[in-house]
Symmetry: C2
Subunit: 164 residues, 2 copies
Amino acid sequence: MTRIESPIVEVDGETPADAARRGRKPAESYVLEEQVGFLMRRAQQRHIAIFQRIMGEDGPTPTQFAAMAKLGGGEDISQNQLGRMTAMDPATIKGVIARLAERGLVERRPDPDDQRRVRVRLTPAGLEAMPGLTEKARAITAATLSPLSREEAERLLALLARLD
Amino acid sequence: MTRIESPIVEVDGETPADAARRGRKPAESYVLEEQVGFLMRRAQQRHIAIFQRIMGEDGPTPTQFAAMAKLGGGEDISQNQLGRMTAMDPATIKGVIARLAERGLVERRPDPDDQRRVRVRLTPAGLEAMPGLTEKARAITAATLSPLSREEAERLLALLARLD
DNA sequence: GCCACCTTGTTTGTATACTAACAATAATAA
DNA sequence: TTATTATTGTTAGTATACAAACAAGGTGGC
């Protein structure tokens, strides 16, 4: 029963890939660990853990910081538009902005020119927090990519950018 | 006010990268769209959309299928162990298994040798569904990677695997 | 002006995901 | 054996995400 457990995946003495190659024909094999969706989910889990560690307990979440980064110059942006800029649908951005507003980092105002719109911007406190948060965000990116060389990291980013 | 909007990101006439290069020093720039976390989130969003399209309205979700794939041989696996094999923490795998059980695809039994454990396995209906689902899962992987050549896809998978 | 359509934002419901705290059971060390 | 520690599973709380249905405000065609 000797076994080596990697952090999460891998439980038995044999690799899933081994099991697949042993018992099944190649055309019928399906190895979860080799699927792009599984690998992306794992990589994201690690990234989010790094994000939370560096931003700290009451720091913003990844999506919260994404919204703040887009508001970083002090601009006024409508809620839905901000959602499009940060890849969040209207229902998601609503919650993100509500939580940032609860924490006093952004404020919402009705748009005088279009009564459907809610304009969102950083509060003075939010604006003041940005330099420190941006510094941490750079450290998060570096830590996430730290297993790779500079060239490998650039290659990864280029490939990921094409999957959209 | 002429503008071209790409699916989600990109709203103004200028690229965020342009804006950063124009007004700020390189050392101070932070371009959300170039960060690995943002790119991974976008790539995952697209992957999940493909997953749902191919699996269909009442097909399993990605995590539900991951659990089923690990149970695919008809084995008995404890709930927490199954979570480790599929990169889900105990609280997450509990919900996934509960929903699979509601749909009659898996069943839970107490472990006779360890009263703490819940053993999970596919039901006959779940076992019967696997070949068709696995076929679809392969199509999902192919569709997700379709913007890339074979070599590029392999390179991406290798790089992602090192981020864990 | 009127009507059809589009956009904006909200609400509800489902499904991940993780943290923290907890209870019950096993395994190990003293 | 007893005491400590570890493992297993649950519950509650927070935060994404998205679909679907909806209301209200703009916009363009006629």
